[in-house]
Amino acid sequence: MATTDTATARAALSDDLARVAAGDRGALKRVYDATSAKLFGVCRRILPDGTAAEDALQDAYIKVWKNAARFDANRASPITWLCAIARNTALDALRAGGRSGAAYDALAELALIEPPPLLSDDAGPEAQSLGRCLDQLEANQRGVIVAAFYEGFSYSELATKRNVPLGTMKSWIRRGLASLKGCLDDVR
């Protein structure tokens, strides 16, 4: 995707969110058409079984309708804001419903999930910074942070899967997050 297309798409999405905040249902449909596949992908990673992901997706767009006035284009990109709503909604459902046995067993071997290539040519500056800063983490820290992000693992699930004490897992993640913050905030 060329940078100009991304910037144009981002501006259009921000404009539509402002219209959603003003009660424009047509704008919500445009936001949905532009973003629902991505948000559904987010929900499905966290809720892979049955129709839970669809329910979470529906709840997410209702939250978008109700909270669009809170979106501030100066603080976040619209797609990040939208994806975060979807992920938080899915996480709420996961924590409330519990992870099904089948999904849990299917992840029996928690491989170190490597993040996507964030350093590709057309990745924006934020992506390149995050890619560089993730590379600077210890492999343990990077792996569990990325796994937690995509799969919605809790501390105790991660500790069990990696067969380490809970305190060790907390230390990996807290140190990893602190390093990321130091690295990213320096870049800015």
């Binding site: 949905y32 991505k38 992908g41 209702i62 996507p116």
Partner: protein
């Protein structure tokens, strides 16, 4: 917002990062959810973490959802029930019950969620009561219900359709009788906003909320251009 119950900033930001990442569970997660609702600095810290991690969403493969998801969204949007006879009768009644107000505001703001843990013993300030105002036009048709929580500075507004040209703009009028804008409002929607700190002292029982229809350009305006289409006093819930 009392500072004496704010956790140490470093611990605060660590919890914000863990919550944004999604690893929190049990009591820590409950604490984070409570802070999200009550502590704007915590919510902003969580948002900064979401922005830091945001590029990771590039790794999510899009999947087309089934069509019924959108159908479900449209059905769940706040209904255009202004014209329904039952709703009008309920509004025109002299006594508008707490239940109706709660229902019209989505039942969310007026009671604290059951799942929240009780506040820690170190809180010394009592929670301040919620204020409400219901604005109706000359015919008694409901135009707006507002609820304001002074502890969180959260103003929740539900607007119905407002006939007429222009955008609804909300004003607060305090003891000095000067209308000050709280911003434009969407029609037919429920929305939250946090008023400018300079305006919050005006949001007290006895102050008047007023609705006018204004041009979109130049909002929020310095003063209203027309007489209000509805006014109501803020009262204790």
């Amino acid at each position: 917002m009392s500072d004496d119950r704010t956790p140490h900033p470093l611990a605060h930001d660590t919890l914000a990062g863990e919550f944004a990442l999604g690893v929190t569970e049990g009591e820590e997660r409950a604490e984070a959810l409570r802070l999200m609702a009550s502590d704007r600095r915590f919510a902003e810290a969580v948002e900064r973490w979401q922005v830091r991690l945001g590029p990771l969403y590039a790794g999510i493969v899009p999947v087309d959802p089934p069509g019924r998801v959108w159908t479900g969204v449209t059905r769940a949007l706040p209904a255009n029930d202004v014209g329904s006879p039952a709703a009008l009768r309920a509004w025109r009644g002299a006594a508008v019950g707490l239940g109706l107000i709660a229902a019209s505001l989505g039942g969310v703001l007026l009671v604290r969620p059951v799942s929240q843990p009780s506040p820690p013993a170190t809180i010394v300030t009592a929670p301040r009561p919620t204020l409400i105002a219901q604005l109706a036009d000359a015919d008694g048709l409901p135009l707006m219900v507002a609820s304001y929580d002074p502890d969180t500075a959260l103003l929740r507004i539900r607007t119905e359709a407002a006939a007429g040209k222009g955008e609804p703009e909300l004003w607060v009028i305090g003891a000095d009788a000067t209308p000050r804008s709280l911003g434009l409002l969407p029609r037919n929607a429920v929305g939250d906003r946090t008023p400018d700190p300079a305006l919050r002292p005006l949001l007290v029982a006895g102050s008047t909320l007023a609705l006018t229809l204004e041009p979109r350009d130049g909002a929020p305006h310095v003063s209203p251009s027309t007489a209000p289409i509805a006014t109501a006093r803020l009262t204790l819930l």
